[in-house]
Subunit: 332 residues, 4 copies
């Protein structure tokens, strides 16, 4: 009972890596909104695997289908259903590890929690499920853009400890050759967020974003504004003084007391190296017998290369949900 | 509509820094549980201000009162109400800044969002409201301890950029003299968490903890397990290999796929320097007129010194809520 | 985990019949709203027991106290806390039945469900807890009146099977003398409800009202518009034909497809005779031993005489919550 | 934002009368449960239209497809998706009324609320959407049967004001000939409900059932136990006395204080005559021009004949959700 994102604009995601399809149902999308399939497909394409030799080779068209909620291409206020079919499954790749737990993966914990495990590509724990987030988030993204002029600026800031952008591809190619993977960081900046978004105490803007982003596969840390470095600052250094025309600095990352201040929303996300590597590792099987494991299948060597459209979609859902809730903050 | 923490064990917090009282109502506490006032009071005392010259000088007894939900000291399954009265208010301290926005504070955003501002000690945006979290969390903490043997081990790992424990007090004293404040970091380790806790996809254990902790006053970053450093690791370094008797390392921080693995839950929280400093700063007032501001009142020079019981309480609420929800994961 | 009414305007109620106090916390009340204590007190007084010899003799002042959420008498967007103290408790009246289950009461089921029972006046199962509904509902009622001109017209339509208004008092006096109680019905009409309120499929206006009203103590049936009689109608009789200036009839009760049509909202509520009677009845005790029981204490002989302000408050909460949610139905 | 039924076992329904498909997503179904397609299909067949000349002639196979949430036919704890395709749509039947409001229908209010109207068979307001309730409810029904031995006994008790079972068909045939429709009543009895189910104050068993059943198309009234007649009873008549071996009567309908008492749950539902009739009626169009209307299309002449499997499914969802929540009521 935890597959719903958002509390007023509710996105229920469903589907598994090697199931029939993946999708989302949106309960709470206002009526009268034109659903632009091309814009959604464009975002899906940004996320899509198989586009270069630096990412997963799984070939999926991820072609959008709308199953409910529209009439003459406009939303009717009823649940909007969006899906893509899984086409390029190779479940047999996973047969040999169906009883072994892949290190760094959710195999072990899903098995312990649910007493059943869909080993085919990790089932529901697969990063493939993030396609559902892009399905819903792409709509939010262009609502935010068209109605509120909210923009996203995001970039990869670190790959394998290296912050020099020019070396990223070189590093990744070397890592692929070594049957290994690399950690990374991405920086996100959201411009033109209106003032007043975020619901204290427990649905602050950074709370809701952290919840959502820390829930994405492989994310291990998040920092807002001056972030971790704030632990070495003095108040007089970290406080953003205020002038007639705005703030002097943006150490807050655009949030004060959980509410957007009108400055750019600024945060950084840190992503662990892909758990699936074809190097030999130590593990156990269902019966606690120690085994060696090589994770074959098709995987991304560095998640940072594909995570940005997913993060942006997830954040767009969060922000749109908070914007809707903000309508309740005051009378008239 | 955002003052409720937890979804099955629901904690609604209420009250303001200079209001009559602060408290929480717990909807969803099972019946038959012995409410040990001494244990709750002990946690309140750990959080209490005014205990040394390194922390806020506001003197509050924070004496627990139970207003509903018990019969013969046991919970009845009805809403449990806990409060403490505000006694040592000095609202006049804030009169002179009632129309100025304190840099780094929520004054500006609350005013923009709600079009009204309770300037007395920051109203609801004050860290004083965390007493409500300790009220509810202290109960969870001892339920977790008594029933599941779950333990918390926490410590301050950094004060003002300095990681040498012996220098912390010296640093803080110097900062007080300079009318300034210091950032800090704390490390949290939760032992004996059972396997299987956490509800993917969107209520993962690290999602829920991040949401709650990033929502605490002054927190700017959170990292799990290898955390930020994971951006420089290879998969073969970061993956925790598995042996018959457990995991070889704990880079995951005790969570795989959002579900507890049975290892220690391990995370680090980074806290900005207190925004309230008595150094002169630049700001504006309600009418956009530029002003100088000195934040008097009684404030903590370094939040890290008082945040640990608050974090532990908040995490205890999150974990207990997830443990209850885990009861639904499987049949029989 | 079920003491919250409303999903956007959330009312958490708490307290017991013989506890220290009763109250509600409202999470989601917009900021800037003037809280008129006199208007709330007036509604509390309408509900108050002890006002005549036809109702319960318990004397309670039910004086309103506000414990959080306001600044200069205006809401701040933070949780609004309202309470009344219990003053005129006579818990000893209940000592002799502390181990017997009163027929028609919740004693038996609370004991079975929670394995603990607050026998003092029924604890949380007492109709005294409806004071919390009036606390929150009175605010909604005057918001609805002042902002939307929504009016309530309600009356008792049946007492003990008798529909002649003039005989009601006479009947009740006779029943008191016989140590018995009487069932009743009340009719509710809500005027000036705007068009479009109600959220299909599962938060239809009649769904939400039925949920709330069927949850009030002693209510056994509810009917909208033509109600039960619709089972003997033909479609051609029951359909409300539409003209340029409105509907020809109101068999729908003001709701079509769960959404208000702009007609008067019209429904009838049927209430069982008070379970507490001083006639001797058969029952068992905790150990399954058969016993005789006389329910002393102070009770209403006919609930219909006091339920109207409670129903109106409950419906006002439901309607205000749905009006807020309606803001999300469409863009612009 | 109102298409979700249940709060722990959450059923999101979606789809329209003449859309591509109808379905439900269940978030919160425990893992390890065997999904028996035949049992679900059997319930779908009970609800199916087109089976005799007394019901709607629309021919739908309503063949179950599972789109997510299972592995080897067992639930995995992830969202379970169930759909049926719409095959026998005749949208052109509705073209001529696309701008007229059918009396007794939701056309008018949907148009007012959402400013857009899917006129094809009523879109989402159609009773066809109840197929989604049967999809989810059929699973609950057999869980309740297999695990808790909970049984449903239901029957039509009134058709067009007539309570003689033998005359029902004759009445309906006559009504069809007259291009009209008939109201009806059904009685529901649920046996073997365990003690303690229902969550006071606001999720009482009769609250949740009333909410759900009053939300079904065409339902206008619901009564529990002695129901409406309680308004003419005395307390001494209506109270169910208690003996060693149980209750003497069941005027409560199996619920005391909102919690199941272990007696049979007993309630009656009253259903208006189908709004769609081919008799000529008065109405207006989008531009307030007065018009005559004949509702063609294929419709049930008496909803009572088809509503029972829908009510049972809806109630099964409610009860299963409350059974799951009851797990939280007490420690150990």
């Amino acid at each position: 009972m935890s597959n719903i994102l958002g509390s007023v604009f509710k996105v229920l995601t469903f589907g598994e890596s090697h199931g029939k399809l993946l999708g989302c149902l949106i309960d709470g999308i206002p009526s009268g909104f034109y659903v632009n399939k091309h814009k959604i497909q464009k975002e899906l394409n940004l996320r899509k695997p198989g586009k270069s030799n630096l990412v997963s080779l799984r070939k999926e068209k991820d072609k959008l289908k709308i199953i409910s909620g529209i009439f003459c291409n406009r939303t009717t206020g009823t649940p909007l259903g969006l899906i893509v079919y899984n086409k390029n499954k190779r479940s047999l790749d996973y047969k040999n590890i169906s009883k072994k737990f892949r290190p760094g993966h959710a195999d072990y914990t899903y098995y312990k929690k649910y007493n059943i495990r869909d080993y085919r590509g990790g089932g529901r724990s697969s990063a493939r499920t993030t396609v559902s987030i892009v399905l819903a988030g792409s709509i939010c993204k262009y609502i935010l853009k068209d109605i509120y002029c909210i923009d996203f600026f995001s970039f990869i800031s670190c790959v394998g400890g290296n912050v020099n952008y020019n070396s990223f591809s070189k590093n990744i190619k070397k890592t692929i050759k070594n049957k290994d993977s690399l950690g990374s960081s991405v920086n996100i900046l959201v411009g033109n967020i209106p003032n007043g978004i975020g619901e204290p105490l427990f649905e602050k803007i950074e709370s809701e974003i952290s919840k959502t982003i820390m829930g994405l596969n492989a994310v291990k840390a998040i920092e807002f504004g001056s972030g971790i470095k704030c632990n070495s600052y003095k108040g007089s250094e970290n406080n953003d003084n205020i002038y007639k025309h705005g703030f002097k600095s943006n150490n807050s990352g655009g949030v004060l007391g959980g509410i957007s201040s009108g400055q750019n929303l600024k945060f950084t996300v840190h992503i662990k190296p892909t758990s699936s590597i074809s190097k030999i590792q130590d593990t156990i099987d269902n019966n606690l017998v120690e085994e060696k494991i090589e994770t074959t299948g098709r995987h991304d060597p560095c998640i940072g290369l594909r995570i940005i459209p997913i993060i942006e979609s997830a954040v767009a859902i969060v922000i749109f949900d908070l914007i809707l809730k903000h309508k309740f903050s005051f009378f008239f």
